[in-house]
């Protein structure tokens, strides 16, 4: 329904209102604080819980992962692919560990499910590439972030 608002003579006569508007924009032009973040030099501080690029935590150079398959099971995007193998000391370990990061939705479920505190999401968010990337084990084993 069209509600007719009561307007004073000054609102009816646009010019005064326009001048007020011009005054506001003029103030903004010179005196307002600018909100732009000049990205490569300035960066936003994200929370510690930010979910960025994955990595697998390693202790003494050996990955914590025991290829228990909990993370591929829980992953809603089904983007973790693990091929399990056995070390000489009968310990299970992932021979291949791949994350198809194009499908990943960065939900962090894998991190939550992992019993060995192995898969982690770091706070790095600069992950644009010029090709379609699948993170393999060697890439994931680089220790980024220190969560």
């Amino acid at each position: 329904m069209l509600v007719k608002k009561k307007k004073g003579i000054f609102q009816e006569f646009y010019l005064v209102e326009i001048l007020k508007g011009l005054y506001i924009t003029f103030k903004n032009l010179f005196f307002a604080r600018k909100v732009t973040l000049q990205y490569p030099e300035e960066r936003r501080n994200y929370s510690e819980r930010f979910r960025g690029v994955h990595y697998i935590k390693a202790t003494n150079g050996v990955e914590n992962c025991t290829a228990c398959m909990l993370c591929p099971t829980v992953c809603p995007a089904e983007c973790i692919h693990i091929e399990a193998g056995e070390r000489a000391d009968k310990e299970k370990y992932p021979i291949r560990f791949e994350i198809d990061v194009l499908r990943c939705c960065f939900c962090g479920m894998c991190e939550e499910a992992c019993p060995k505190d192995a898969i982690k999401l770091s706070s790095i968010y600069e992950m644009s590439t010029t090709y379609r990337e699948v993170y393999d084990k060697s890439f994931l084993l680089e220790q980024r972030g220190n969560k």
């Binding site: 011009l22 903004n28 600018k34």
Partner: protein, 371 residues
């Protein structure tokens, strides 16, 4: 015309074309930085100091972009349209004087490419040719949004051209000339009357159009916004309603030509506003005093003094035009777009009667010899 005239006219035309070609990138930059600062952003500030070369980068991008002609368009008119809107935009500024005249030997040189005796009418007739480009673009694009854009553009032009023309009639009546050079010269005289009141010597200020014709000035200012398709009257483009209107199907340099035409129209409109209502090249109050001081201080010869005066006048004209250019940007980022019916209401129900009333009152004033 002899050789000397040809050379002088050529030089003036070349000067003007260089200025016009520089206006576009600078205005594009001012527009982007200005809009950003008004919206509490920073805007492009990477290329060159303060980002001033951003427009150059843009130009390079425009030139190297692929320039496809979509399959569903009318190719001949599609290619012609940007030209049709760009060429008139380049033509109009020729009659606007950017400084007074100088005596060289036994010749007078007017700083105006062509002092046509139909000056004002020439500007109006050429400026309204630009709309053909827009209509052609909309029609040839074979796209409903473009079509809507050009329809809006043409009806808007018609409605506002009337009030624009009528508002200028006041000025023509007061200065009894349509030659822009004459109008600018006459604005140097002092205003002796305020309505029926005789002003005392101390209160006399220059007879600038804006003091003689305040209502006409307002009407002209508003109509100019509609004529140049700038916000708040940019319905032909209306990004949020009809995507980009008439230049929707255009890319690369053809799009850039539409943009250039828009900025050049703005520039011409600012020049016209300055010439008709702010005294054109007339010096600001106080600048005349500075000029005398400078001339006396350097003990200039008559010729050098004259050239200094010309420089002062060009600067003063530049400041006025610059103010209006900035005003266009400033208003664009202040006001929201009008609704179409509001636009038409304003044009026909407010501006037209107001401009007619303005003519009536002006003629009464002239009859009693008050202006």
């Amino acid at each position: 015309m002899d050789t000397f005239d040809w050379i002088v006219t050529g030089a003036k035309a070349a000067f003007l074309v260089v200025i016009l070609l520089h206006v576009v990138p600078i205005m594009a930059w001012v527009e982007r930085r200005g809009s950003a600062l008004i919206q509490n952003r920073l805007g492009p500030n990477r290329v060159g100091p303060l980002g001033i070369f951003q427009s150059l980068a843009d130009a390079v991008k425009f030139i190297f972009k692929e320039d496809p002609v979509p399959g569903h368009v009318e190719p001949f008119y599609y290619v012609l349209a940007p030209l049709v809107s760009l060429v008139p935009a380049f033509m109009t500024f020729g009659v606007i004087p950017f400084a007074s005249s100088i005596q060289l030997g036994d010749r007078m040189i007017h700083f105006q490419v062509a002092d046509l005796n139909v000056g004002l009418l020439y500007v109006f007739s050429i400026a309204s040719l630009g709309v053909y480009g827009i209509i052609m673009a909309g029609w040839a694009s074979n796209n409903k949004y473009s079509m809507l854009g050009s329809l809006r553009s043409s009806s808007q032009m018609i409605s506002y051209e009337i009030s624009m023309g009528l508002s200028v009639i006041g000025i023509v009546m007061v200065f009894s000339s349509v030659k822009l050079g004459d109008i600018a010269t006459q604005q140097g005289e002092l205003l002796t009357h305020f309505g029926p009141l005789l002003l005392p010597e101390a209160l006399q200020f220059p007879r600038w159009g804006v003091f003689v014709q305040p209502v006409g000035f307002l009407i002209f200012l508003v109509s100019v916004f509609a004529e140049t398709n700038r916000l708040p009257f940019d319905l032909p483009e209306g990004e949020s309603e009809i995507i980009a209107g008439y230049h929707l199907e255009y890319g690369s340099m053809k799009f850039a030509m539409f943009m250039m035409a828009e900025y050049l129209n703005m520039f011409t409109a600012s020049g016209l506003l300055a010439t008709l209502y702010l005294g054109g090249w007339q010096l600001f109050p106080g600048m005349g005093y500075v000029l005398h001081e400078v001339q006396a201080y350097f003990q200039m010869s008559a010729l050098a003094g004259d050239w200094t005066r010309i420089v002062f006048e060009v600067v003063s004209f530049g400041i006025k035009v610059g103010f209006f250019m900035w005003f266009f940007v400033w208003v664009r980022w202040t006001l929201p777009r009008f609704r179409y019916d509001q636009l038409m209401d304003l044009g026909w129900k407010v501006m037209l009667p107001l401009s007619l009333a303005n003519i009536l009152i002006t003629s009464v004033f002239i009859f009693f010899g008050w202006v």
